[in-house]
Each structure stands twice: as structure tokens, then as C-alpha cells.
């Protein structure tokens, strides 16, 4: 069996054991203000930032989008839709999907979300406009800190999203909106 022969070959060939370095807890970079750094990095990755001071204002923002005739799927409210509700909708036609972001990363402007926030995995990718609601106090400095908080064993799928989907495969010209969302908005909640 290939499994055994591969393992046997590794054991026969592997170099002498080398130790692990001491883990890095946090980066040395000094940022004046985490929120400010996060906003800078997110913007440079093509994200739109809207600072908002209450969940009610988030609702108002969503209602405004709907009144513009947009199809909005909002999963940020307390009574989240059930799997059944989700399965009967054709998300390929959704204009806007609004999800809760768990953590923001100041060093790169990315937001972590996992399966619990999206219910079905294709949701953040299929929509043309993804909106993430993120509390300002959930912005951490760097990836070391964030990974310490992420519990991978208790989720099936999780993703860092840093802006709208993009490509530079044609002569390195940056084009926003490759296969996923064309717009990416972060509603920063204080």
C-alpha cells in the first residue's frame, strides 16, 4: 500500500530531528491606533469602510439598500434564518449579503468569519456585494493574536476575507471583481 511505502521511505530518508522555535505571541510593529491601521489596510485592499455607532443604524443602512430595490440577505440579526430558509433561495441573484465578522486584523485589513456566520459556505463568495459588520473592539493587531483566538477544531470552514475579489493575471493590471464579490463593505461598529 502506498501509505506504508511512503512512510517507510520518509523514515529511511528524513534528516536528523530539528527543534521548533519558541512561538511568536505578537509582532513588534507599533501602530498608533489599531482601528486606524485596520481602516488603512482594508481600504488599500479595496474595501469600503462605513463607521456606524449602533446596530439600529446598521438596520437603517440595510433598509436603505433594500429601498433602492436591492435584494439583501442579512444574517446579522438575532433570529438567523434556518438552513431550510437558505436552501430555498437562489443566492446567485442576491445583490447584497450582510454577515457578522468575528475579528479584524489590523496588519492586513482582513476579517475572519466562519461557518456559523454564513450558514452556507458559498454565501460570502456568490454575492456581488459582501457586507461585513465588525465591532471595533474586535480588531486585533496581527495574525499571531488572531490565530490564538480562532478555534479551528470547532468549525468546519473559516476564511479571512480582505477586500473584494481581485485579479492581476492580465499584465498585472489590478481588476476588482474576479469571480467573487465586486464590492466589499465593512460596517465598523463602535
Amino acid at each position: 500500500m502506498s501509505r506504508e511505502s511512503i512512510l517507510k521511505s520518509i523514515i529511511a530518508n528524513k534528516p536528523a530531528k530539528i527543534g521548533l522555535p519558541k512561538p511568536i505571541e505578537i509582532s513588534n510593529n507599533e501602530y498608533r491606533d489599531l482601528t486606524e491601521k485596520f481602516i488603512d489596510m482594508a481600504k488599500s485592499a479595496g474595501s469600503e469602510i462605513v463607521e456606524i455607532d449602533s446596530m439600529e443604524k446598521v438596520m437603517e443602512w440595510i433598509i436603505r439598500q433594500k429601498s433602492d430595490g436591492k435584494v439583501v440577505f442579512d444574517l446579522t440579526q438575532e433570529s438567523v434564518p434556518t438552513q431550510q430558509f437558505l436552501s430555498i433561495h437562489d443566492f446567485s441573484n442576491s445583490d447584497i449579503v450582510v454577515l457578522r465578522g468575528q475579528m479584524g486584523v489590523a496588519e492586513n485589513g482582513a476579517v475572519w468569519i466562519d461557518e456559523h456566520d454564513m450558514l452556507i459556505r458559498k454565501l460570502p463568495f456568490i454575492t456581488s456585494h459582501l457586507v461585513l459588520v465588525l465591532k471595533k473592539n474586535k480588531i486585533l493587531k496581527d495574525m499571531h493574536q488572531v490565530y490564538n483566538q480562532i478555534d479551528l477544531k470547532n468549525t468546519g470552514f473559516g476564511v479571512f476575507i480582505a477586500g473584494p475579489s481581485k485579479t492581476a493575471d492580465i499584465e498585472q493590471s489590478l481588476v476588482i471583481g474576479a469571480h467573487g464579490p465586486i464590492r466589499h463593505t465593512i460596517l465598523l461598529l463602535s
Binding site: 528524513k14 522555535p21 476564511v159
Partner: protein, 455 residues
């Protein structure tokens, strides 16, 4: 074809070579800007290197730990000794599912395994979904770079290709327009995907999951629509713990494209309800490579492509000139292990300037290995006779101070007074595209003798 011959073809079009050179240097510059914003960049590189060396020196244990945790997560784990076995496993999964189409995102491993032609021969339609890869696939080419597969193509060529294949407007070469055309073309395939394949950037022993990084979101679009997700990974992609991801994610995109992080960094732990994830652990020569005392560290590679972007030879010869899936400096130290004779010229496709080792995020001693591979090529008798004879003669001269002095005098006389055709001929491969610098009439030794007593 030898690298130098293929490079010669590439170099025929001078403006295009210059454009290619600049395009890749642009990526190097973007990388520098990002790297300079991380104060502990060098510490990160040290960590990444050490974590990889640790993982490789305990690879059997970590593979078993990964396997156990992955199975616990509901992932099906397959092992493939070689390319053929990998391809067969993919085909069997498709066949069992009764599916004739595979939507895939970028995977250098499947290129290495020549999977697409294998599946196509068996009647499977393979759809590449990364824009660069799709361009290459439609044009029936090979990728010339591991991160930017179509970096050698001009937008005019892509415009023409899309006109023919995707019926875009005649003469419209706008990247925005062409990308939008590819978006709607590939969306059909995503929505109808039943089986999707991705590569793997990192697999984590501790969690039994794996990470896939893209900017376009094509990996996610494929696998989340499909019922079955196949992930192909080389066994060297394994890292021990979740916390190590922080180190590698911080380095990867900054080194590759000069972004602080890729747009999507997706962590797959368990299949979605009612779906399947299969992971194929591929050896294909890697376990044997581990036994190469001087060369095993090449397996630390995380496939960022930074060594290509910085390499003065790669930038001016193009990825295709290397004749292998992974070109550039890293390709030139991986290929000799695959077939020393076939790739004997690649360790010489370098100026040994060391820039590749300087930018490598996992600190592979690339230029040192290039130098070591040259010795192997010589020892196994794969050196061309011009190089062999040349080195033998130069070796003798450099070993004897008297011969060295004499040769210098003769060479200075010859190069100053001999007619051009005697200096630049078939034997002088160095002089084919270079002028020999103007030589002084006196050697340093002669000058020193004359001047040492002057105050």
C-alpha cells in the same frame, strides 16, 4: 531544448524581453514595500525556516497525526506514491460520482502530475478557474510562472484569444473588460460544478485541516458549489500547528504578490453537510529528496515565486525556457533531483548572485544549492564538453601562480591585439551576447611590483 537555447528564442524579441523583465521586477518591488512594513521580517523568515525543517525532519509523525485528525473531521485521506497514482485517484473519485467535469483552481502539483491531459484522455472535461490558468489552458500553453501563470502574455494576445474562445469584442484588450468576460464564462461552470479540485497551501497536523489562498475567490466558488472537493497536496506542505499558520500567512502573500494577505485565506476543516472532502497526499519523489543531505531543504518551499521575480536570469529568459512546471531558481534546484541528465543545464541558468536566497521567505539556500548541483552534474558526467574542457583548463591555471601570471600576460596581449573573430567564436559562449571589457595593459601584480616602493 537546453535553457540557453530556449532563452535565445525568448530574447529575440528585445522590447518584449524588457517588458517581461520590468513586469517581474514590479512584483519584486511590491514585495519590498510590504516586507519593509514588517519590523520582524527576518525573525519571521527564521521561524518559517525552522518550522519547516522541524516538520520535514518529523514528517512521518506529522503525516500520521494529520491523517488521524483529518479522518476525525470526516475528510477522506488518500496516499499517492507517484503522479500516476494521484491521477488515478482523482479519476476514480470522478468515476464513482458519475461526473464528467472537473472545475479546478490553481495547483502546481496537478501540473507536476500532468493530471489534465490524463483526465482529458479519459473523457473528463477539465476547467481551470484561475484567470491566468484559464488563459493558458484556452491557449494550449503551459504556465510560465507559479503565481502569475500568464505573465509572459500581452493583453493584445489575451484579447485575441478571448475573441476566438469567449466571443469578446474585436480589438478590445482592456483587462477590466476581459476579466469580466472570463467572470461570466466561468460562473456557468462554477454554478454547475459537481466535483472541484484545489491545491493546498498549508495542511495542519494538529487540526487535520488545510488552507487554500486565492485572490480571485475561484477555489471557494468551485468547492462550495460542488458536492465533492478534492484537495491535492505534496507531503511537504504539512506544518505542525495552527499557530504556525500566522507565520506563513504573514510571509506568503507579501513575498508572492506584495499584498499583506491574499484576498481569501480559506480554512477547510470538515465537509459541509451532505458533501465530501478528499485529500490526496502525494509523494512523487519527495520522500527520497528528503534523504539528500545537501538538497533536502529545497522541500521547505511554499511556492511564493519570489525567487523568480527577483532572478536576473528568469526575468530575461521567461518561465518556459526552464522546461519544467516550476521554473526559476527554485525549479533549477528541484529538477536535478527529478532527472539530473535531462535538467543538467538548469543549475547553470543562474548568475549565482544570491538574490533568490535573499528573498526566500523560508530561507532556502537556493544559490548554494545551485552551486552544489553544478558539482553533481560534473561528477555524474553530464557537463557539456565546452564547459568540461574549459573548467579543466581554468582549474589548472588557477592552481598554479606561475601559470596564472603567464596566462594573464598572454590573454591581455591576445585580447588587445587579436582580431574580433578570434576572440568571439563558437568556443566563447560567454562572448555570444557580451563584449569583453577593455583590458589594462598591466596586471595588478605587475603594477604592484612597480609601485610598492614608491611612497
Amino acid at each position: 531544448m537546453k535553457h540557453s537555447q530556449a532563452a535565445k528564442v525568448f530574447l529575440k524579441n528585445a522590447p518584449r524581453t524588457q517588458w517581461h523583465d520590468k513586469a517581474l521586477w514590479f512584483a519584486r518591488e511590491k514585495r519590498d514595500i510590504q516586507k519593509n512594513q514588517v519590523t520582524e521580517w527576518e525573525t519571521l523568515r527564521d521561524h518559517a525556516s525552522q518550522i519547516k525543517e522541524h516538520a520535514l525532519s518529523n514528517l512521518d509523525d506529522y503525516l500520521m497525526e494529520f491523517e488521524q485528525n483529518a479522518i476525525g473531521n470526516g475528510i477522506v485521506v488518500h496516499w499517492a506514491s507517484d503522479a500516476e497514482e494521484h491521477n488515478r485517484i482523482v479519476f476514480n473519485i470522478l468515476q464513482k460520482a458519475g461526473v464528467r467535469k472537473l472545475v479546478k483552481s490553481k495547483s502546481m502539483l496537478t501540473e507536476e502530475c500532468r493530471m489534465n491531459p490524463y483526465l482529458e484522455n479519459k473523457g473528463i472535461e477539465v476547467i481551470e478557474s484561475d484567470l491566468g490558468e484559464r488563459i493558458i489552458q484556452l491557449d494550449k500553453q503551459e504556465p510560465s510562472h507559479i503565481v502569475m501563470p500568464a505573465i509572459h502574455m500581452k493583453k493584445e494576445e489575451i484579447g485575441k484569444l478571448f475573441e476566438k474562445e469567449l466571443h469578446t469584442e474585436t480589438g478590445n484588450n482592456d483587462p477590466q473588460y476581459l476579466t469580466a468576460a472570463a467572470r461570466s464564462h466561468l460562473r456557468k461552470h462554477f454554478l454547475s460544478a459537481e466535483v472541484a479540485l484545489t491545491g493546498v497551501n498549508f495542511a495542519i497536523a494538529e487540526t487535520g485541516g488545510f488552507v487554500v489562498c486565492t485572490n480571485e475567490g475561484n477555489a471557494d466558488m468551485g468547492v462550495h458549489h460542488a458536492r465533492i472537493h478534492i484537495a491535492s497536496m505534496g507531503i511537504e506542505k504539512l506544518i505542525p500547528k495552527k499557530e504556525h499558520l500566522a507565520v506563513f500567512i504573514r510571509l506568503l502573500a507579501r513575498s508572492a504578490t506584495g499584498q499583506p494577505i491574499t484576498n481569501y485565506t480559506s480554512h477547510f476543516q470538515k465537509p459541509e453537510k451532505g458533501k465530501e472532502i478528499h485529500i490526496i497526499l502525494v509523494d512523487n519523489g519527495r520522500s527520497e529528496h528528503l534523504g539528500e543531505e545537501k538538497f533536502w531543504r529545497a522541500l521547505k518551499c511554499i511556492r511564493c515565486g519570489a525567487c523568480m521575480n527577483t532572478c536576473p536570469v528568469y526575468r530575461r529568459s521567461g518561465g518556459h525556457s526552464y522546461g519544467y512546471t516550476i521554473p526559476g531558481p527554485i525549479g533549477s534546484i528541484l529538477t536535478p533531483k527529478i532527472d539530473l541528465k535531462q535538467f543538467a543545464d538548469l543549475p547553470f541558468a543562474s548568475s549565482l548572485c544570491g538574490s533568490c536566497s535573499d528573498v526566500c521567505p523560508v530561507k532556502i539556500d537556493i544559490h548554494e544549492q545551485l552551486y552544489q548541483w553544478r558539482q553533481e552534474v560534473y561528477e555524474h558526467g553530464h557537463l557539456s564538453w565546452i564547459k568540461k574542457t574549459g573548467f579543466r583548463v581554468v582549474g589548472k591555471i588557477l592552481a598554479s601562480p606561475r601559470l596564472y601570471g603567464l596566462t594573464g600576460t598572454i590573454a591581455r596581449f591576445f585580447l588587445i591585439y587579436a582580431p574580433g573573430f578570434l576572440v568571439y567564436n563558437r568556443m566563447n559562449t560567454w562572448g555570444k551576447s557580451r563584449d569583453i571589457p577593455t583590458l589594462p595593459r598591466q596586471s595588478f601584480q605587475e603594477w604592484y611590483k612597480e609601485n610598492r616602493n614608491k611612497s
